[in-house]
Amino acid sequence: MTNRREFLRTAAAATAGGVVTGGAAAASPLPLPLHAVLIETTFPQTHAFGASLATAASAPLLHLRQGDITAAWLQHIAPIWQREPVALAGLTLSSSLFCLETLTSLTPLRVQFHAEHVLLPDGRVQHRVLRGGDSAQLNEDHLHRLGPLWPTHLADAVAVHRRADSRQRLGPSVAALTPSLPDGASLLTSWIIAPV
């Protein structure tokens, strides 16, 4: 299991040698390399997001059904996180983020970006950026103005998201607890989990 200190040590050494491995957070001017993109399959919005981000990040797209991360976890994420704390992003149900975040314990991985998208029955979407909006250059008004194009814009923003500064204090997100939703609304959650 890689701990935070070991990770930062390796990353700093790699950056000093000119190899960008996805470490040395603050020093890296490059967007965060993503290891995989996860989407909940049952919403059209997630497909637009997933296709766009997976292409931009050259990362595989993993499909979740009813929030269940089991297969993605066992087949893709656990084996790699055991070796190396790599970044993931997604547009999923909030329970999927919560499960993945829980599985980061004792690693240097933290939720660095977290936004909620409430899909209302009349087709409108309410956006709330809870964490990391600045690094993603994302704001709620802009997402709102984009109307149905918000998933691809969100994907673009996630693709250029910079790693959070290791001095930034990141505790747990609030993904476990959901906001009260209007009748008939659904909640999607966009997120990045990455090493600090």
Binding site: R169, P172, V174, S180
Partner: protein, 511 residues
């Protein structure tokens, strides 16, 4: 950095430095954001001053390190809270019962030490999750099953120590009941092995759980008398097949023979799977087929035996007038892809995390809050008791739910442990502090109302363990006093998980 209660900064720093020497500085967590990762994600006090939080965390990787950490804690009188994987959601997560305790995180002790196929047992460390044990067994191609709870990411040891249970066959579903032998670090740092493990060069540690003399293992179930560093578990030999029978009755009073028949079949070990009882609590809507209650009875075993057992079940259930009996398909094991996609995996010893997705919006829960805490009283395993509980629930619902303003989920009548019926009610917990406060008040009210009827919890969320423990008050709290006497003797400084399941050390007893 927060300080543990009644510990000064100098002493705390000395202890932290000693722990850094013991486990390596990178495994001692003191920054606010690292320590915050041990918060209980479903805390009913989330973001309120009363939320139970840790002051620091230490993650040893060996038994010797655990002993050294405990000795240091004793020297500086620092409360520790041991967790295995710390995913005790709905019952406290990784957060300590006594706020300000240092979490002793045992996740790094994650070795599967032994799996014996011929005698069907495993010996594991606390950080071994159900996924880990399943992977180990699968990789080694052993014909054994584990018995996972709904979330497969938990610790085989942690779940058992909290009184958890699973969904395959009896007797493996009662996880503490299926254990055989422990290794425990006591509060003074001494190491003890229980049962046959007390024999030097023991050859039968996981063969016989009782050993010789008074049995002490029960002190560590929902206890705070030691830190468990190894535990043996009996595993289920992989069965050949499973088949399920569903029995429906349409009159409320038919529940009585339905439960009696289920009990008989289970107590005779004819039905060995995790049974389920569901009820519609009253009259069916006009025109709808009347189904007051239904029971599911699964049987695991060799195919020929399963078929014969099912015949016997049919014979007994058909004695209930009007009972409608449906025999499900027989599922052969190991599962093929089609079966794997169809079944509830935990009933086949396969750990997964699908339960978290299923907690989303449903007809029963149109506005899910994300978190929940569980009220889980044990009631008698009779149809009369279920009907009485259902009446009790209906009668008190309006008052406890503020006239229906608060929505609870349940009750769910869980018959999945031998001889036991748990009538569980789930209390949703969300981000709204006012809502959470009202849920807390409702929870306490249910505990008190149930206790007045002679029903009490088998397990409780950390913040409610005191109130639930208080209901076990027969003979002026004699049982609590007995436990406190033991606690004072084995942990005189009260450093191990103070307050867990209502057992407080002397200096905090009346605090």
């Amino acid at each position: 950095m927060a300080l543990p209660p009644n510990v000064n900064a100098t002493d705390f720093n000395s202890a932290l430095n000693a722990w850094r020497q013991t486990v390596g500085a990178e495994w001692v967590f003191t920054s606010d954001e690292d320590v915050a990762m041990y918060r209980d994600a479903y805390s009913p006090w989330w973001d309120e001053p009363e939320e139970r939080v840790a002051s620091a965390a230490v993650a040893p990787s060996t038994v010797e390190q655990v002993q050294a950490v405990v000795r240091t804690a004793n020297q500086y009188r620092i409360p520790l809270y041991a967790i295995s994987t710390g995913r005790n959601l709905a019952y406290g997560g990784s957060a300590p019962v006594y706020s300000g305790s240092v979490v002793l995180d045992l996740k790094r002790m994650n070795r599967v030490l032994e799996v014996d196929e011929r005698n069907a047992y495993a010996l594991v460390e606390p950080g071994v999750s159900y996924f880990d044990l399943y992977n180990h067994i699968t990789e080694k191609k052993l014909a054994l099953w584990i018995d996972p709870p709904d979330p497969g990411w938990g610790s085989v040891i942690g779940n058992a120590l909290d009184g958890g249970g699973g969904w395959t066959a009896s007797p493996f579903r009662d996880h503490f009941g299926a254990h055989c032998g422990m290794e425990v670090v006591l509060a003074n740092g001494e190491l003890v092995r229980t049962g046959m493990g007390a024999l030097p060069n023991a050859k039968t540690w996981q063969h016989n759980r009782w050993g010789f003399g008074p049995w002490v293992d029960g002190l560590f179930r929902q206890g705070n008398m030691g830190v468990v560093t190894k535990m043996g578990f009996h595993l289920m030999p992989r069965p050949e097949a499973m088949q399920m029978m569903t029995v429906r009755v349409s009159q409320e009073q038919d529940l009585i023979p339905l439960v009696d028949t289920l009990n008989l079949l289970e107590n005779q070990h004819v039905v060995n799977g995790s049974t389920q009882l569901s009820g519609s609590f009253g009259a069916s809507p006009a025109g709808a087929p009347a189904t007051a209650w239904s029971a599911q009875a699964p049987v695991y075993g060799p195919e020929r035996v399963v078929r014969a057992q099912m015949e016997h079940c049919r014979e007994l259930f058909s004695r209930i007038p009007g009972a409608r009996i449906e025999l499900g398909d027989l599922t052969r094991v190991p599962l093929d892809e089609a079966a794997l996609a169809r079944v509830r995996k935990v009933n086949f010893g396969i750990p997964d995390l699908s339960t978290f997705g299923l907690l989303g919006r449903s007809a029963a829960d149109p506005s899910p809050q994300g978190g929940h805490i569980d009220f889980s009283p044990i009631i008698p395993r009779t149809g009369e008791a279920v009907l009485e509980y259902a009446r009790f629930y209906r009668e008190n619902l309006a008052a406890v739910s503020e006239g229906g303003a608060l929505r609870f989920l349940g009750p769910v009548f869980m018959t999945n442990w031998d001889r036991t019926m748990v009538a569980m009610i789930m209390f949703p917990i969300g981000r709204d502090k006012t809502h959470n406060a009202r849920m807390r008040a409702a929870f306490v009210k249910w505990v008190e109302l149930a206790a007045a009827r002679g029903w009490a919890e088998y397990r409780a969320p950390a913040g409610f363990q005191d109130v639930c423990a208080k209901s076990y008050s027969w003979n002026d709290h004699a049982l609590t006093r007995f436990r406190e006497t033991i606690k004072d003797a084995v942990d005189p400084n009260g450093i191990l998980s103070p307050g867990r399941y209502g057992v407080w050390p002397k200096h905090l007893r009346n605090a």
